[in-house]
Amino acid sequence: VRRLLAVGLPVALVLVALPFVLNGYGVQVATVALYYVVLGVSWNLIAGYTGQFSLAQHAFATIGAYASAVVALALHLPLPVAILAGMLAAALVGLALGWVTLGMQGVYFAIATWAFAESVRILLAVNYQITRGDMGLAVPFLFDSPDPTPAYAVFVVLALGAVGLNALLLRRKIGYRMRALRDDQELALAAGIDVVKTKRLVFVVSTAMAGLAGAVYGHAVGLLSPSQANFSQMAFIIIAVVLGGFRTLWGPVVGALVAQGLAEALRASAEARLVIFAALVLVIVRVYPPGIMGLVDRATALLDAWSTRRPGRARVAAASRPGPSP
């Protein structure tokens, strides 16, 4: 609870305060950042906590976006229904893909999800009669207006909801099963855990999250294109999560916000930003895997020590902290 307050409260406060500080463009940037937050949380759930290194998270967001667009444009149903349909579509495809791939070993699972994501992108680009291919598909806006603030509010709810769901799952039996099968699959099997079933369940939750984020994002931006399923999107999700802290609850949130904020602050070209972020990730993974959340943990430990003014106890507290992978 203390950790939750230490990070969650400031993050939530900043998120609520942002639209009052920023102009329309800034709010739009923040909305995009929150889209990556939800994708990062959903990827961290399956890759970080369950150990299944999926490379298709961006593809499930794209599926959600296009499914929602088709329901809204072709069936003329209201947007909330369309968005739910998008989430459902992503979850169903996730169920199917998980059914066939989650039994594979790590390397093969990564290649299979990568191939799936590339197929989604090519299918969307090739079937241009329906998707208008690379020209982009115009979709109706949330609340019928391109004003970014309401969409931003929706995304704040989504992001905090995603973190909440993640925290809840971790406290349930399934959360322990996830981490058990990640750390030692054979031991988990021996302990009577239905490994494949657990993986499937988490994968469906994770893809549904991504589909929901993609569907809402599509209606917030108003334009879809197959480039949303480019592998560079997946690379950016990984970069953001690792920057913030892989396998931590708040890592994806902090990582995506910091990455997007830094990108705006640097005012460099898109390529230069990516070079900097990629280099940062190399350094973090190589030298300090806990990422930003690791630093936050250290800082809170130091604060604890300072407030109790008992350095001996502080050292013990710092040592007994769960460290990089809770």
Binding site: G106, A115, F116, E118
Partner: protein, 297 residues
């Protein structure tokens, strides 16, 4: 039309050799270090840029084969450095985390190199001069693109030297032994750290060779390695991850299927067939055509 058939067959075979180079690089690294190098396309790209610079500044278009060798050498050295500084620490972790570590590192590396290339050389396409003029075999009514022929011959030569090195030299046998069983190789006194380092360098040098040889055919630009990487992954899954003969056979099979498919079937969905094949193999026969189980102690 036998001429058309022959033409398609020859084009397929010429591409097959170069595909084999790329796939062999991926699968060789995978067999030794048990990791997938997601930045293979960027090493291909570096090879093609090096080749272009060497051709236009140092050697001139006649000495393209020398330039290929120097490009390979340059990327080989870079590969050694990358392995030593970034990938070697993966062995601090256990099996599952090793793979995660390597995946994150190589994906970040690919983002880094690709965007650095855009910054340094711009998003432009460069076209090196052709290696050889086109050849017409009059007796068979066959016309051959000279550069494709030259790149195929070069690739075949590199493959043969690589094959000879692995099979006929003690050092090469040490690589094969490490691929079969790391612990066993270590027990036999093989220094795994050194084997890993050189294996990674050799693997990415093969990608650089493909990039340098194909530079005049597919041109030189920041994402020019993407297509070959995709083909490479398809090939290694079909041939069996870590299997060297499998990679070569599957490379020719894919190249021939593509070359026949693009003439006799519609080319629009061509890229999807490869992925469909890949998925099918992963589901039905994940060890591929030639894959064998790892020998455990």
């Amino acid at each position: 039309v036998p001429q058309l058939l022959l033409q398609v067959l020859v084009v397929g075979l010429l591409m097959g050799v170069v595909y084999a180079l790329m796939a062999l690089g991926i699968t060789f690294i995978a067999s030794i270090m048990k990791l997938i190098n997601w930045s293979m396309g960027e090493f291909y790209m570096l090879g093609s840029y090096l080749q272009y610079q060497l051709l236009s500044r140092v050697f001139g278009p006649q000495l393209w084969f020398l330039a290929v060798l120097v490009s390979m050498l340059g990327v080989f050295v870079l590969g050694l450095l990358v392995q030593r500084s970034l990938l070697a620490p993966m062995f601090r972790y256990d099996q599952a985390r090793r793979f995660e570590y390597a995946t994150i590192i190589t994906i970040a590396l690919s983002v880094l190199l690709q965007n650095a290339a855009i910054i340094v050389a711009g998003p432009y396409q460069y076209a090196p001069k052709d290696y050889l003029p086109s050849v017409v075999v009059a007796s068979l009514l066959l016309s051959l693109n000279g550069t494709r022929l030259a790149s195929a011959l070069g690739a075949a030569l590199v493959l043969l030297v690589f094959w000879w090195f692995l099979r006929r030299t003690t050092v090469g046998l040490a690589f094969l032994g490490t691929a079969q069983n790391r612990l066993g190789a270590q027990t036999a006194g093989i220094r795994l750290q050194r084997v890993d380092m050189v294996a990674f360098g050799l693997g990415v040098a093969l990608a650089a060779a493909a990039g340098a040889l194909l530079a005049p055919v597919f041109l030189v630009y920041p994402t020019d390695g993407a297509v070959s990487t995709v083909k490479g992954f398809e090939i290694i899954v079909i041939g069996g991850l870590g299997s060297l003969p499998g990679a070569v056979v599957a490379a020719f099979a894919l190249a021939l299927v593509e070359s026949f498919g693009s003439v006799y079937i519609s080319p629009a969905y061509q890229d999807l067939y490869g992925f469909a094949f890949l998925m099918l193999f992963l589901l039905v026969r994940p060890q591929g055509l030639f894959g064998e189980r790892e020998r455990r102690v």
